[in-house]
Symmetry: C2
Subunit: 184 residues, 2 copies
Amino acid sequence: MVRTRLTAQERHAQLVDAAVTAFAQGGYAGTTTDQVARIAGVSQPYVIRLFGSKQDLFLATVRHAGDRVQQIWRDAAAEDPTLDGLGRAYKQLLTERDLLVVLLHGFAAAADPGLGDAVRQCYGDQFTLVRELTGASAEEVRDFFAHGMLITVLGAMRVLGPDAVEPQPWVTELLSTLPSAGGE
Amino acid sequence: MVRTRLTAQERHAQLVDAAVTAFAQGGYAGTTTDQVARIAGVSQPYVIRLFGSKQDLFLATVRHAGDRVQQIWRDAAAEDPTLDGLGRAYKQLLTERDLLVVLLHGFAAAADPGLGDAVRQCYGDQFTLVRELTGASAEEVRDFFAHGMLITVLGAMRVLGPDAVEPQPWVTELLSTLPSAGGE
DNA sequence: GGAAGTTGTTATTCACTGATAACTAAGCAC
DNA sequence: GTGCTTAGTTATCAGTGAATAACAACTTCC
């Protein structure tokens, strides 16, 4: 018979994945720990036991998403350490749109005292990493992050990425300027 | 004696202002109708009676913020109908940071079926208006909105605008490339 | 000055949600 | 196989929050 139990570590990782999906949809306050538990096929109290609190679960989720983006950039930089190279890698991340959107929800929730510091540090780490990897100027990196934020928000609005809604005229016009941004 | 009651219209407007403040802090799901009511000095059930539901209140709030941004741009375009002109006006909007942040919370909440369409239309209207006012190319307008989104998110993260937190090194470096973005 | 419409309130409900406690069962050591 | 540790459950609670209902008080109009 197949193993029915996971180690706490495996379950931890699985729950963070489930949390990415859930929080990307509803944001921090708009998502229940029970929704996360159901996705992972586990009871709600167990989620709390493993992470301590909903806030800790969310923080772990945001950190996971941030780490993953950094990893993507490091990999991309190994082949092409330019902003263009990292930018292409970032756009491909739209296929895992939830990862980006969960970060956005973290930024949006930064007014919460318990989340703000962690979220700001996450973004700061990204900024610093991109500067290190590419050696680009502050202006160039600013433009890079500005476009990244636009892509992320468009993803959150269901205008880009998987399960995007029927595009309005302004969307097609805007997307025509974003080569390779199409999700499908 | 001073007038103690307001007309429904006046109260409506006052509540939308209160809702901008409240929703900018906690987002859609993270803000209670009671918080909005308290800011306006009114009872919670009355808020529901005037707006029908929390969702309708939020939609009215997002629309108000969107209208105000459009108005700012129209005014700016009357003097300088270029992207630079509108951009300066937008950055000055950081003094009313809540207005921008509430829009961001709307975008982030677009996955909610009851909010998505309205929110996407709000952003589409902004896009269309800027194209009309400036006659700029799609690429230029894309860059304009990308930077606007970065400013907005930095405001939401309490890195820009009023009551910004003590800046980290990466923040000062990033802000040095955003002239006149300082809130004070 | 009283009837009518409008602006508001208090009381209450009902569903939901994060968290705790107490218990159960699987796996592993020996 | 027995006992300990670890992975998980069900039951439950206390607080919250949107929404409804019923009522109160100000304004206005004649």
